[in-house]
């Protein structure tokens, strides 16, 4: 179990402010956020490599805030694997065992499990990226840490290795029941590996919750844009409708002061003909741009000066045969319109997706 209470870290040029975080025993938790959000810094504070100015860090109920890293029993796997280049695979794996007072895990089984048996005598620089990460995993697990931190463990790998290692981490977590705290900037990775997530931005945690919840019900404009809700507009909310410019949209208002709306592009339907007797919202706009993204197309539609993004699978697009410059009709179901409390457009996350 990891518990971070009121943590503040102040470094020249960057601060982590008032971080609250709880990772239950055996849970897999993902810290998400763009580059520079402070995710790695938070990991390093938990490990004990950077000084903490305020707050407490507890591992399995034990206050480790003042302890040096070697007495915290926290394992780490870095993006760049950080294997000791002067030692071979086996020497790397057993490196920490001499310091281990408690019962050691079955090393033989661990090596077998990670498929490292044939690599034991190899030099580090002769390994592939995926092999290096497996050795780094084995090295940290060989000392039976209380928790395991993963700092973007998949980012540096080729796509095919990435899936293998992702599956391996998943099954390792399921089998060993170790508490996992991972840092990633990839929502899909978090979705696959973690049960809960925290979205970090500018050294603060914006939202914590089950991955599904954060994905489907973002609370802030930043989180909405981070989870891919590209249609993020300031709006005036009046009862069960949202007004953007001159357009009124029906939505579901649970009550509260909302200032913007967020809609996933995949929830925006696009048609050449207006649909009659429509239950939801229909917007009339001019198709500005179609960007071919391979399996799907990114479509930009101008509705009264507001740029709406829609995603359509290429097949649908071919069938409806819309072209740039045409008048099109967008359909949006009221339940797909998410109401957001803040509306600071400048703070949103610009994804390349």
């Amino acid at each position: 179990m990891i518990r971070v209470e009121d943590l503040t870290v102040a470094l020249p040029g960057f601060t982590l402010e008032d971080i609250q975080l709880q990772v239950a025993a055996g849970e897999a938790f993902a810290l998400l956020g763009p580059t520079g959000a402070g995710k790695t810094l938070l990991l390093e504070a938990i490990m004990g490599v950077i000084p903490v100015h305020q707050g407490r860090i507890l591992i399995d109920g034990r206050d480790v805030t003042g302890l040096p890293p070697e007495r915290r029993r926290i394992g780490i796997v870095y993006q760049d694997h950080a294997l000791f280049p002067h030692l071979n695979v086996e020497e790397n794996i057993v490196y920490g065992q001499r310091y281990c007072a408690g019962p050691l895990p079955d090393l033989e089984a661990l090596i077998q499990r990670l498929g490292l048996k044939p690599l034991l005598a190899r030099r580090i620089h002769s390994l592939s990226g995926g092999e290096k990460q497996r050795v780094a995993l084995a090295r940290s697990l060989a000392v039976a840490p209380s928790v395991l931190l993963l700092d973007e463990p998949l980012t540096a790998l080729d796509p095919n290795f990435r899936e293998d290692l992702r599956d391996l981490i998943k099954t390792l977590h399921q089998d060993t029941g170790i508490t996992l705290l991972m840092v990633t900037h990839d929502f899909a990775e978090a979705h696959f590996l973690a049960q809960r997530t925290a979205i970090m931005h500018h050294g603060r945690i914006e939202q914590v919750g089950a991955v599904e919840t954060v994905f489907n019900r973002p609370e802030t404009a930043f989180v909405a844009s981070f989870v891919g809700m590209k249609n993020l507009f300031p709006a005036v909310i009046e009862g069960d409708s949202a007004v953007i410019g001159g357009v009124r949209l029906r939505c579901r208002n649970p009550g509260g002061g909302f200032r913007s709306i967020a809609v996933r592009p995949e929830n925006v339907g696009i048609n050449r003909q207006p649909k009659d007797a429509l239950r939801g919202n229909q917007l009339t706009g001019r198709l500005r741009r179609i960007l071919n993204r391979g399996f799907y197309a990114d479509i930009l539609v101008d509705v009264d000066g507001v740029p709406w993004h829609a995603i359509d699978s290429r097949r649908d697009l071919d069938r409806s045969a819309v072209a740039e410059g045409e008048t099109v009709y967008l359909t949006i179901a009221p339940e797909d319109i998410h109401l957001i409390r803040d509306g600071s457009e400048g703070e949103t996350h610009k994804t390349g997706r």
Binding site: G48, P68, P69, E70, G75, A82, H86, Y95, G96, Y99
Partner: protein, 275 residues
């Protein structure tokens, strides 16, 4: 230079005319290489074999070369002991005034050598509080081995610290972090991770520091004419007896420096093999 020449002809397939710059560069290379090698070669071949053998049988010459090596070695050892933790601090931590401290380390490289000797002597003089402390401990600077080692450490230390600092900087701090997370203490991490990855640059630093110390003359001659080191002896023989008598000693010193140079080429990291 040769590699660039080769590249440029390859890129153009050897058919296009070479830029006149490469001709100029080739000429410059020839001139510089000759400028360095000619005087050295001349000096080594000019004394007859008999002269060389005679002077190397001379106990004074042997003692002077031995004194050079002994004092330079002592300076390198002191640099190792004090310079290593200092270099680690500079490589790993940032603190206010770090740039200033780094410039201070480099100062001995810039200061004219006799000035180094004069500065140390004035500090150790009887009129200075530091000199009185030294006197209380019965430590003499003027005309002693202690004095020679002091100035040699002064001029050699920057070379050791800079080489080792670069070595430490090339080791990713994450390796040390991982080692700590696996249960190794700070000192165990230094012994098992940092040192095995840094010893080459420490050795390079030692050799550079020692080579610099062996070649020192200006600072030594101010602080201690006697006991005589090789560089002072060469100067003495030159002024007292002329070129011919100073040459055999100089050849001996060149050979010693050559050994250092070869050692340095041999242990220098060929490429960054840390990651």
């Amino acid at each position: 230079m040769n590699a660039s020449l080769h590249n440029s002809t390859q890129k153009t397939g050897g058919r296009l005319a070479m830029d006149p710059f490469w001709g100029l560069a080739l000429a410059a290379t020839t001139v510089i290489t000759a400028f360095i090698l000619l005087p050295l070669v001349e000096m080594v071949v000019q004394p007859s074999l008999q002269d060389l053998v005679d002077s190397w049988r001379d106990p004074d010459v042997l003692r002077a070369i031995g004194m050079s090596l002994y004092t330079a070695g002592a300076a390198a050892l002191i640099s190792l002991i004090f310079g290593t933790p200092f270099a680690y601090l500079l490589a790993r931590k940032s603190f206010p005034g770090k740039r200033l401290v780094e410039s201070v380390v480099d100062l001995p490289i810039m200061i004219p050598h006799p000035v180094v000797g004069i500065a140390l002597l004035s500090l150790a003089g009887r009129h200075h509080w530091f000199g009185r402390i030294l006197e209380a401990f019965n430590i003499q600077i003027m005309g002693t081995v202690t004095g020679i080692v002091s100035v040699l450490t002064f001029v050699g230390l920057p070379f050791y610290i800079n080489a080792v600092k670069t070595g430490f900087e090339s080791i990713p701090p994450r390796l040390e972090t991982v080692s700590r997370s696996l249960g190794a203490s700070f000192s165990a991490t230094f012994v098992r991770v940092t040192f095995p990855l840094a010893w080459r640059s420490m050795l390079v630093g030692l050799i550079m520091c020692m080579a610099r110390a062996v070649s020192e003359f200006g600072a030594v001659v101010i602080v201690a004419y006697h006991p005589m080191v090789a560089s002072v002896m060469i100067y003495e023989r030159f002024t007292a007896y002329g070129l011919k008598y100073s040459q055999p000693v100089a050849v001996g010193l060149i050979l010693v420096c050559l050994v250092f140079f070869l050692l340095l080429r041999w242990v220098s990291p060929r490429k960054a093999s840390v990651l």
